[in-house]
Subunit: 440 residues, 2 copies
């Protein structure tokens, strides 16, 4: 299949390009290297040193005999993306070419506006390019589970059937995102749904959970093929950040009470899932939503998991809660469907523990590099607009001990009554945070 991977130089994008190429697909990467530029702005660095894209692709060709093409340019430049789509005539476009960090979008007005304009216009351009030059192409768009927020009911895959005042209807499930970035993804999802309706395009909108992991099998042990890995406050996702911290003995730092629950999946499973979506495209005019994650975890529980595996590897590390720089519920109901990918044949590759072992082994060789950037582990970007390092909370870690942990490896929904075991004081704090925006 001819596939364009937009944003193919990034963390997930690069892994996806290799994975698809290894499977025999004809892959073209489109990227403008903006992600590399943000490292300089943030004073951070990918932990795994990455080569220039052209070098990585040469290595790939030498090792496998396979060629991945590159088109360097910006999806916000319509002439570029239109002519690329027209020339390649892809059957699938996988769209990762967005600003993907919530904290980055919350830095200030410029970053908020940049994130929303970049992500909205990029996606509109891809949709118009498809309409004009490749109307039968299937777009696989990376959204995020964060589009849904943390509603007090179960989260279906994109749509739900409800009864309201005596009538039943299937409606888009309401979105309640938690950052300018997450809202940019909602705006994008809405635009894609509309384009499918009016132009008969087909789309799979992937509500992806938080991804973690240093590698996929296609990279082998050749570090020149490794994906970038971020551990800074803006682009580092929770488990990646915890593992980097563990390696240098820096405390693992859940935010606030730390019972935020999210869906997670290893990088290698993300590739598997995307490929299932690509190889089983929807019908013309169909807009479908897949929730893409393996398990739901509580952030404090994850920190304990990383702590445990690190200890087995000889790394002793504390868990210390941080003042929460975000405005979010820290303890809430959370249950979400993820049937569609399992129906298509998704088989999770590893347990979280096994993946954590691999990660810690990969990361330990970069201990000095993490130490050089250890300042990046404590956030200073706050949702209220201030830019000021957050402090450690003196008491929060104790709360963890009273929380029964949800067994991992199960795919059942968390027990709704679970929050009742949280001490009253912390529940009050969480309730204070979960501002009621629905007073009318």
């Amino acid at each position: 299949m001819k596939i364009i991977v937009l944003g193919g130089d990034g963390y997930c994008g690069w892994a996806t390009a290799l994975y698809l190429s290894a499977k025999g697909h004809v892959v073209t990467i489109v990227d403008n290297y903006l992600r590399r530029q943000w490292d300089h702005e943030l004073g951070a660095q990918t932990l795994t040193p990455i080569q220039p894209l052209s070098d990585r692709l040469r290595t790939w060709h030498r090792l496998t005999g396979k060629t991945i093409d590159v088109a360097v340019g910006d999806v916000c430049d319509y002439d570029f993306i239109y002519s690329t789509v027209k020339a390649i005539q892809p059957e699938t476009i996988v769209h990762f070419a967005e600003q993907r960090s919530a904290p980055y979008s919350m830095i200030d007005r410029k970053h908020a506006v940049f994130t929303q304009v970049n992500n909205v216009v990029g996606t509109l351009n891809v949709l118009f390019a498809m309409r004009e030059a490749a109307p039968d192409c299937h777009i696989v768009k990376l959204g995020t589970m964060g589009e849904y927020g943390t509603p007090d009911v179960a989260i279906p895959e994109g749509f739900f059937e409800v009864e309201y005042r005596g009538r039943r209807a299937v409606l888009p499930f309401p979105r309640q995102a938690g950052s300018w970035y997450h809202w940019s993804k909602v705006h994008g999802s809405n635009n894609i749904m509309f384009a499918c309706k009016i132009w008969n395009l087909s789309a799979t909108d992937i509500m992806q959970g938080v991804v973690f992991g240093t590698r996929i099998d296609a990279m082998g042990d050749d570090s020149r093929l490794f994906s970038r890995l971020d551990f800074d406050q803006a682009f580092g996702t929770a488990i990646n950040r915890f593992c980097c911290a563990a390696v240098i003995g820096h405390p693992l730092t859940p935010f606030g009470i730390g019972h935020q629950r999210r869906g997670f999946l290893p990088l290698r499973d993300s590739m598997q899932c995307l490929t299932l979506a690509i190889e089983h495209p929807p019908k013309p005019g169909e807009y479908r939503v897949f929730n893409q994650f393996e398990e739901i975890y509580d952030i404090s529980e994850l920190a304990r998991k990383v702590q445990k595996v690190a200890r087995e590897t000889g790394l002793n590390v504390e868990i210390k809660h941080l003042e929460n720089p975000r405005r979010e519920a820290e303890d809430h109901f959370y249950a979400a469907d993820h049937h569609h990918l399992f129906e298509l044949g998704y088989h999770p590759a590893h347990s979280v523990e096994r993946e954590l072992e691999i990660m810690l082994r990969d990361l330990i060789v970069h201990r000095d590099r993490i130490n050089d950037y250890r300042h990046a582990l404590i956030p200073d970007i706050r949702w209220d607009g201030r830019r000021e390092k957050v402090s450690f909370l003196p008491t929060a870690p104790r709360l963890d001990l009273s929380i029964p942990s949800v067994p991992s490896g199960t795919r059942s929904f968390p027990d709704a009554s679970r929050t009742d075991s949280v001490p009253a004081a912390s529940r009050a704090a969480a309730a204070h945070d979960a501002v009621d925006i629905a007073t009318h």
Copy 2:
């Protein structure tokens, strides 16, 4: 109260500025005159010749002794809007400064991108300016009933309580907009809801129905104070367009089957409603949604109403259905709440018929001017991307006769079973159009 009216040179904005000034509020208009520029692009003109803003304001001052200030600039220019908000320290900002035409947004990619970027960035800028310079200010934002689309259940005011898989929650009501413009309003609503949550701002988001009418009382009979009035395919709203057509004997032209149902309200009532929202602000941190319309009508029924009143005024005019340039359901369930404004004391001013009489009288003096621009009455902007005049449908008008009309002046919901009286053939056509985007 100190009030900034963003977009105060436009159709609703100008009327709002006069209405609030007449009530004794201290009003500043912010506008960049972009709306006047679009006339040239579209080869259209406001029917009622309007003076330069500075002349209109001098007239207002001479006639009433009241002063309305002006700040000329673009809400997308942050330095401008921030310094304006900081200098004026408004208690309310009424935000009309958006590209407000669905067809304009559907012309091509450039117009779609312009509409979404202009509307999203303008609103983000206003929110950031409030946070930085006037955090206690109340923003009254013009949304549109079109954000909701035409779901198969009743439309509440912004939020609804539903039961889903055994749990109940109050959730934002899902939006299913019908153009890039309407989606830009949804994006804006979502961003405002989030800003209220994280920064404690207060907002009233007005889901306004289709507005019609040539004047409000504050304008008196001085034509120098009249608001602009558009009757072209892009900016002309349904009743305004029908009345202009009636005046020159041009057929009234519902699109397709013509049973699209929408909420409508006269311009003078729109002013009354906005003022109720302004004078009864929400609490800090509260994001509330008002559905602002008086009655729900079916487009064909409205055409018949205009035809009837025109006939009484001595104007004979046919109703001829046009091929629908849009992608929309042409016959559907529609019921929407509008309790909040009535609870605040909204009293509709006139019956539609009475308002139509006033309009026709105002318009008839401009008969030659409408004739000069009669080409603007037949649309050529199509939702499928083509730009080609639509044709008259040979048979559709007959279908109307079999449809019982909903009595006007009632505020009850339309009868859900009503569509059953539509002949099967036309129901099938409507069903074909209402694409099922919720297959997954």
